[in-house]
C-alpha cells in the first residue's frame, strides 16, 4: 500500500511542476476546472430560469441585471450560456470517450496484428475520411433521428478515424519493443498485451488528441444544432443560441450572438491549450 501512496504524491509533485513550468497549461487547466464546475452546478448557479420567457424585457442589452442581455423572448442570455455548458460538455465528453475507447482498441489491434485486418480497417478509415465529416455527421443525425444521443453517436463516429489511425501508428512502432516480448514471456496473451500493456503506453500521446478533439466535438455539436439538427429549442445550447441570435445581428443586437459565440470559442481554446500539458502530466518519462 505504501508504494501506491508514494506514487500518488510523486504524481502530485509532478503535476505541480508541469503547471509551474508552463503557465499556458495552468491557465488552460484553470479554465477547464471552471468549465467543469459550471457544467456540474449550472442549475444552482443561474441567476434566472434559462427557459422562462419575459417578453416585456426582450432584447435588452447587457446590464447589471442581465450581464449578457436578454434574447428575443426576454430570456437571460447569461443563464442560458451557463446551462448550455452542461449540455455541450456532456455531448463532447461522451462523444470523445466513445470514439477514444472504440478507436484505441480497433487501432491498437490493427497496429499489433497487422496483415489483413490492418489493411481492411485501414481502407475503411480511408473511405470514411474521404467524406466531408460534417456532412457525414448531418446525414447520420438525420437518419438516426433528431435526438441528443444521436448527436453523440454521430460526433463519435466522425472522430473515430483519427483515433484508429493514431492508436495504430503508436502501437505499431512499439510492438517489437523488448518490453512487449517480455510481457509475453511474463504470461500475457496477445489480447492482454494490446489492452493492458500497449494501450496504456499510448495514452500520453493520445491525451493530446483527446483534448484537441474535445474542442472539435463541441464545435461539431454546436454546428449541428446551428443548422437545426440535434438539440431543439428552447433547450439552451450554444449553437442554437447563435443560430437564433443571428437574425438580430443586422439590427445591432450583437449580444445575442457574441456571448454564446465567445463561450464556445473560449471553451475550444481552453481544451486545445490543455493538450500539451496533459501529455507532460501523463508521460512518466517526464517525471524525474
Amino acid at each position: 500500500m505504501s508504494d501506491v501512496v508514494l506514487g500518488r504524491s510523486g504524481l502530485g509533485r509532478h503535476v505541480a511542476y508541469v503547471l509551474r513550468s508552463n503557465p499556458v497549461t495552468t491557465v488552460a487547466a484553470a479554465g477547464a476546472v471552471v468549465l467543469l464546475f459550471v457544467a456540474l452546478f449550472a442549475p444552482w448557479l443561474v441567476p434566472y430560469d434559462p427557459v422562462a420567457s419575459d417578453v416585456p424585457n426582450a432584447l435588452q442589452p447587457p446590464s447589471a441585471a442581465h450581464w449578457a442581455g436578454t434574447d428575443q423572448l426576454g430570456r437571460d442570455i447569461f443563464s442560458r450560456i451557463l446551462m448550455a455548458t452542461r449540455l455541450d460538455l456532456m455531448i463532447a465528453f461522451s462523444a470523445v470517450s466513445l470514439s477514444f475507447a472504440v478507436g484505441a482498441v480497433i487501432g491498437g489491434f490493427c497496429g499489433y496484428v497487422g496483415g489483413g485486418l490492418d489493411r481492411w480497417v485501414g481502407r475503411f478509415v480511408d473511405v470514411l475520411m474521404a467524406f466531408p465529416l460534417f456532412v457525414l455527421a448531418m446525414a447520420l443525425v438525420a437518419a438516426l433521428g433528431n435526438r441528443v444521443e444521436n448527436i453523440v453517436i454521430a460526433t463519435a463516429f466522425i472522430n473515430l478515424p483519427f483515433y484508429i489511425r493514431f492508436a495504430r501508428a503508436e502501437v505499431n512502432v512499439r510492438r517489437n519493443a523488448g518490453w512487449v516480448e517480455a510481457a509475453r514471456a511474463c504470461g500475457d496473451s496477445h489480447l492482454s498485451v494490446v489492452l493492458r500493456v500497449l494501450l496504456p503506453n499510448v495514452l500520453p500521446a493520445m491525451a493530446v488528441q483527446i483534448s484537441l478533439n474535445l474542442g472539435w466535438a463541441i464545435l461539431n455539436a454546436a454546428g449541428l444544432s446551428f443548422i437545426g439538427l440535434g438539440v431543439r429549442p428552447p433547450t439552451p445550447e450554444w449553437g442554437i443560441m447563435v443560430a437564433e441570435g443571428a437574425r438580430f445581428i443586422t439590427t445591432g443586437k450583437w449580444w445575442l450572438v457574441a456571448f454564446p459565440g465567445l463561450a464556445l470559442m473560449l471553451t475550444v481554446l481552453c481544451f486545445n491549450l490543455l493538450g500539451d500539458g496533459l501529455r507532460d502530466i501523463l508521460d512518466p518519462r517526464m517525471r524525474t
Binding site: 508504494d3 508514494l6 506514487g7 511542476y17 519493443a177 523488448g178 518490453w179 516480448e181 517480455a182 510481457a183 509475453r184 514471456a185 511474463c186 504470461g187 500475457d188 496473451s189 496477445h190 492482454s192 500493456v197 496504456p200 503506453n201 512518466p284 518519462r285 517525471r287 524525474t288
Partner: protein, 552 residues
C-alpha cells in the same frame, strides 16, 4: 598535412568545464579536464557511461546541445582558441580540419540520400570540388575505406548496407576533407567482433596514411590498449589518470583505473577475477551425472521467415540441469531467433523442443502463456533500455509475471516475492519505486533479471544481457548469473557474440553461422582448439585486453 608541432600540440584542452542546465538546476558534466594531443597521435579516452567522454568530444567539436554550455577553460586547436569561436568559423573547421564519427552509423547517415550524394554533400559543403569531380572523389574514398564493389555502392542507400559498411561510409565522409584530427566516439560498439576488427584496422591504416591524429573514445579497454598511443581515463567528469598506454595499464595508479583494468576480461581471466570486491562465489562445480535427462533438448529445429534462407537451419543441442550453454554467432546467425524459439515466443517450422522430458514445441506460441512451462522458461533481453515497460516501476515490472502467471494480487505475498527476486538479482529495494528512465543501465539489467527470476524459472535464456553494459557492471552481472546457476540450479542458455564472456560463464558452446551449427562442444576445448574455420576467425577477432601485446 603538416602539423605545426613547433607551435605546440595539435589539440590542447585546458581546464575544460561543461555544465548542463536541467530541471533540477545546473549539473556539472566536466570538472576541468586537461588533454593534449600531437599530430599523428592516437589518444584513447576510456571510462564508463556517464564519465563524460562523449561530452568531452562534443565540447571539442563545439556540438553540445542547447542545454550544454562550456563554463570554463579553453580549447586550442592548431594553436587557435576555438572555445568561443563563431559558428561560421566552426563550420569551416568541422569536417575539414576536425572530424567525427559516431557510435551508431546507421542513425548518423541520412536514410533517404544515397551514399554518393552524402559524400558529395560533405565535399561540396567545404567548396573543394565541382559536382562531377566530387563524385569521382567519393569513389576514391569508398576505395580507401575498402568497400567492395565501390561503383555499385555509390548509388546504394544506408538501409541496403550492413552496419559495418555504414561505419565505413561514415569514415569515408569523416576523412573526405583530410581532417587533421578525427574523433571516433565508440566507432565499433554494436558491430560484430570480426567487423569490429576490420573497422579498427581500417581506421589505423587511414590514420597512418594520412597522418591524422585520432581520439578514440571507448569503454572497451581491450580496444584502447590495442590501438592507442596514450590513454586518458575518465571518471565522473574528471580525467583521473593519463599516460602512455603500456605504462598506464601495466601499473595503473588510480584506484578507478585499477578497478577498470580488473574488470576487463583477458584471455585467461575467470569470473572471480573481474570484480574482486564482489562477494566470492563458492566455485562449486556443477555435477553432470551421465544418465540424467537433459533440462532442454532441441531436435533438428528449423525456422524460416519466408526468405530464401532459413533463419535457423537444423539446430540440435541439449542443456543438462543447471547447465550453461553458450550460443555464439554474429548478427544474422539466427541466435536471437533461436532464443525466441526456445522461449516459445515463436513457433518452429520443424523439429522439436523438449523441456524436462516434455515436448513444448507442439503448444503454439499464441497459447503458450497458458502452458505450465511458461513460468519455467524465462528470458532476459539484450537491451535493458528497451526491455522494461516505460510506464511500469521496477516493482510493477518484477510483479508482472507473478500477477499473470501465478495470479498473485497486490498484498504482502506479492511484495515479499518481488523483494525476494530483487534481492537475488542484487537490486536495492529502494529502487523498486523508480521508473526505467530513473535507473542506470546496470540497474535496468538487474530489473530485467529480477523479472525473469521472479516466477522461479528452471531455465533462463539470456539474450546478450551484458552487451549494453559497462565492463564493471558486466563483471558483476556475470558473477550474479554464475551464482544463480551454481546455487539455485537454474539452467542458462547464454546468447552472445562475445566469445570471451561465454568462455567464462558456460561449460558448453554452440557456434552458429547463418542459422547452422558450425561447431559444438565443451567451451574449454573449443577455445583451446577450434575445429571450424569460422570459429577460428571469431576467436582471433576478440579484442582481448592485453597491454603487453601492444608493446611487442
Amino acid at each position: 598535412m603538416t602539423v605545426s608541432s613547433a607551435r605546440g600540440p595539435l589539440l590542447q584542452v585546458e581546464n575544460l568545464q561543461v555544465e548542463f542546465s536541467t530541471r533540477h538546476g545546473v549539473v556539472k558534466a566536466l570538472h576541468g579536464i586537461d588533454l593534449a594531443l600531437d599530430g599523428r597521435e592516437t589518444l584513447g579516452i576510456v571510462g564508463e557511461s556517464g564519465s563524460g567522454k562523449s561530452v568531452t568530444s562534443l565540447a571539442v567539436m563545439r556540438l553540445l546541445d542547447r542545454a550544454g554550455r562550456i563554463s570554463g577553460g579553453r580549447i586550442l586547436f592548431q594553436g587557435r582558441d576555438i572555445t568561443r569561436a563563431h559558428h561560421g568559423d566552426l563550420r569551416k573547421l568541422r569536417g575539414s580540419a576536425l572530424s567525427m564519427i559516431f557510435q551508431n552509423p546507421r542513425a548518423a547517415l541520412n536514410p533517404i540520400r544515397s551514399i554518393a550524394q552524402q559524400i558529395v554533400d560533405v565535399l561540396a559543403a567545404h567548396g573543394r570540388l565541382s559536382k562531377g569531380a566530387a563524385r569521382g572523389q567519393a569513389l576514391e574514398l569508398l576505395r580507401a575505406v575498402r568497400i567492395r564493389d565501390p561503383e555499385a555502392r555509390l548509388s546504394a542507400y544506408p538501409h541496403e548496407l550492413s552496419g559495418g559498411m555504414c561505419q565505413r561510409v561514415m569514415i569515408a565522409m569523416a576523412i573526405a576533407c583530410e581532417p587533421a584530427l578525427l574523433i571516433a566516439d565508440e566507432p565499433t560498439t554494436g558491430l560484430d567482433v570480426t567487423t569490429q576488427k576490420t573497422v579498427m584496422e581500417l581506421l589505423a591504416r587511414i590514420q597512418a596514411e594520412r597522418g591524422m591524429a585520432m581520439i578514440l573514445i571507448t569503454h572497451d579497454l581491450g580496444l584502447a590498449a590495442r590501438w592507442c598511443d596514450r590513454i586518458a581515463v575518465m571518471e565522473a567528469g574528471r580525467v583521473v589518470e593519463q599516460g602512455p598506454t603500456e605504462a598506464l595499464f601495466e601499473a595503473p595508479a588510480h584506484p578507478y583505473t585499477r578497478r577498470l583494468v580488473a574488470a576487463s576480461p583477458t584471455r585467461r581471466s575467470v569470473l572471480a577475477d573481474l570484480a574482486p570486491d564482489a562477494p566470492k562465489v563458492v566455485p562449486r562445480p556443477v555435477e553432470h551425472r551421465p544418465g540424467t535427462p537433459p533440462l532442454l533438448e532441441l531436435q533438428h529445429v528449423v525456422k524460416s521467415f519466408g526468405g530464401p534462407t532459413r533463419a535457423v537451419d537444423d539446430v540440435s543441442f541439449r542443456i543438462p540441469p543447471a547447465g550453461a550453454l553458450g550460443l555464439v554467432g554474429e548478427s544474422g546467425s539466427g541466435k536471437s531467433t533461436l532464443s525466441r524459439l526456445v522461449c516459445r515466443l515463436l513457433d518452429p517450422d520443424d523439429g522439436d523442443i523438449v523441456f524436462d522430458g516434455e515436448s513444448i514445441a507442439r503448444v503454439p506460441a499464441r497459447e503458450f502463456h497458458r502452458a505450465p512451462q511458461r513460468r519455467d522458461i524465462q528470458i532476459v533481453f539484450q537491451d535493458p533500455n528497451d526491455s522494461l515497460n516505460p510506464r511500469y516501476t521496477s516493482f510493477d515490472s518484477i510483479a508482472h509475471p507473478l500477477r499473470r502467471l501465478e495470479g498473485l494480487r497486490d498484498g504482502a505475498a506479492l511484495t515479499a516475492r518481488v523483494r525476494d527476486a530483487a534481492a537475488r538479482a542484487g537490486l536495492p529495494p529502494e529502487l523498486l519505486e523508480r521508473f526505467p528512465h530513473q535507473l542506470s543501465g546496470g540497474q535496468k539489467a538487474r530489473v530485467g533479471i529480477a523479472r525473469a527470476l521472479a516466477p522461479r524459472p528452471r531455465l533462463m535464456i539470456l539474450d546478450e544481457p551484458t552487451a549494453a553494459l559497462d565492463v564493471s557492471v558486466q563483471a558483476v552481472i556475470l558473477q550474479l548469473l554464475d551464482k544463480l546457476r551454481r546455487e539455485e540450479g537454474i539452467g542458462l542458455l547464454f546468447v552472445s557474440h562475445d566469445l570471451n564472456v561465454v568462455r567464462m560463464l558456460c561449460d558448453d558452446l554452440v557456434v552458429l553461422q547463418a542459422g547452422k551449427v558450425m561447431e559444438e562442444g565443451r567451451s574449454r576445448d573449443i577455445f583451446r582448439q577450434p575445429r571450424a574455420e569460422y570459429t577460428r576467425t571469431l576467436l582471433e577477432a576478440v579484442p582481448y585486453f592485453e597491454p603487453k601485446r601492444h608493446a611487442a
